[in-house]
Amino acid sequence: MDKIIEIKGISKEFNGEQVLDNISLDIHDKEFVTLLGPSGCGKTTTLRIIGGFVTPDSGDLFFNGKRINDLPPYKRNVNTVFQKYALFPHLNVYENIAFALRLSKTPEKKINMRVNEMLELVDLVGFERRSVNYLSGGQQQRVAIARALINQPKVLLLDEPLGALDLKLRKEMQTELKKIQQHMEITFIYVTHDQEEALTMSDTVVVMNRGTIQQVGTPQDIYNEPVNAFVADFIGESNILGGIMHRDRLVEFAGNIFECVDRGFAPMEPVDVVIRPEDIVLTEPTADTINGVVESVTFKGVHYEIIVQASDTWIVHSTKAREPGDIVGITLSPSDIHIMKKSSAFSQGSFITDETEVRNIE
């Protein structure tokens, strides 16, 4: 696959705050890329730099191999779907969609043809003369998508486009966006803080935090092989504990020594231990298990979320209900224990990810 957009060492500061810290990223043609991270991680700024609305302080941006740092937005073959749609309130649905073509002085006949194509694509046939002020959120969103796609951009930028929609509509739009992307055969760069959205739609997920890229990979990679505790915690729920790697395949945490499958750490190196809640098996307490008391049980539909208070607080997902106050044993198999290098971003054993939870390790 060809690289369509290359970001090389881009940094950006706003009012003395480092929003992007030397990020580099390649985006391939016809790829669905999601920039995922908590608010303030720099994902929207990255998108706005690609769109041309923000000039980076340093670093270069390439489009099809050409440096476009200084190209104004209206000269870039990139279009944006804005967070709150930003439709033109003085124009009706048809004129909103036709806006770009009218600017380029396209013949009326062709405008009509293209707009109708777009209306069909976003399923808004019959709404042409409607004022955009009287459309539902979902319909406004469709107009925004059609308006951005009419110029047949190589890349479509989407800034949390589904954020304002309710859950059911969001799910529908997710599928539809994916369909549109495959139908149009163009690159989508999608910004969201919703990890589930990212995993469902993307070919590639870029996890960002505090102006840096944490991990780039397929949804499966990101979920199954998170590179650090931040990614592990942000993508799905995790138990993250501080531990010490005694030697290869042997780690100490929560007061016990466990076998694991990771290696390549220095002897007695402090590490983060990540355990997915669904990987934990609750058993009767024995000498080999981490024993604790069930603090709360919440029914979540597919499973129960059980909070177990041992020397640490554990989140466990289990299909079997427990009663608060039960004494249980936490059993772990070596392959479910993920060892990660302590990352500098949250070294003190606690970190804040404003849209996920704040959790203390140790």
Partner: protein, 307 residues
Amino acid sequence: MNRRSRYSAFPYLLWMSVFIIVPLILILVFAFTTTVKFDNTGNRLTNDQAAELIADWEASGKAGDFPVKEKFYFTFDNIIQVGNYSSTLINSVILASIATVICLFLGYPFAYMVSRMRVSRQKIMIMFIMLPMWMNFLLRTYAWMTLLEKNGWINRFLELFGIGPFEMINTQGAVVLGMIYNFLPYMILPLYSVMTKIDDHTIEAAYDLGANRVKALTKVILPLSMPGIASGITMVFVPAVSTFIISKLLGGGTNMLIGDLIELQFLGNTYNPHLGSAISLVLLVFVLLCISVTNQLDSDKTEGVLL
């Protein structure tokens, strides 16, 4: 609407009927009537004759009945007479239009600039715009007199460079300047309040879809600020066209405006409330026409500031 809110409008309705509706009816009545004076035997008198009779009557120690009787007659004469002053009306409209257009061109870019600033800065800028409005209108206009006079500050300053002196006061230019100075805030404020409602992203969307700065202005910003333009024009044009103090002080009586003419009918030597009312009525109709035209600017259902 519940009972309470229905009655809560009552104080204003009372105010409106006493101080707006009734005076309007009076203007209407005066505009279409004329007072004719008679002596006690039924002979028609001119104003001078009537004054003479009254003087005689007073000199005679007010013996007998008051010698003059007045009767009101319905007439179109006043309205027709207004035609004699059409040049004054046209002059007023021209000067007020020039002032309004200049206010729009000065105010529009400024209002846009302010609306894109940080909110804290916006407040400061708006305060600067309002600042002159807190000072007395007469005082401000007198200040311009001393600036524009033949030996005024501007001429004295220019003299330092060997330029001038210029005839500035008592010209139409001075009147227009006075209008602009006094009414500019009324242009900026409605423009500003409409422009702050234009989302930055909407303008970015225009750039994104291929609009350069000029196209973004003409295709998005201008249409979205139409309601502000309409109310700004109304708020500047209406007071400017009917002003009398500005033309009196800065125009020096030689550039009479329609407002001066009305004032003259009520407070001047040519006391004639019937003609004064007729001119006011013509002006009122004219202003209503202007407003209905500017309201066409934002006829579509974008939210406007109704002022």
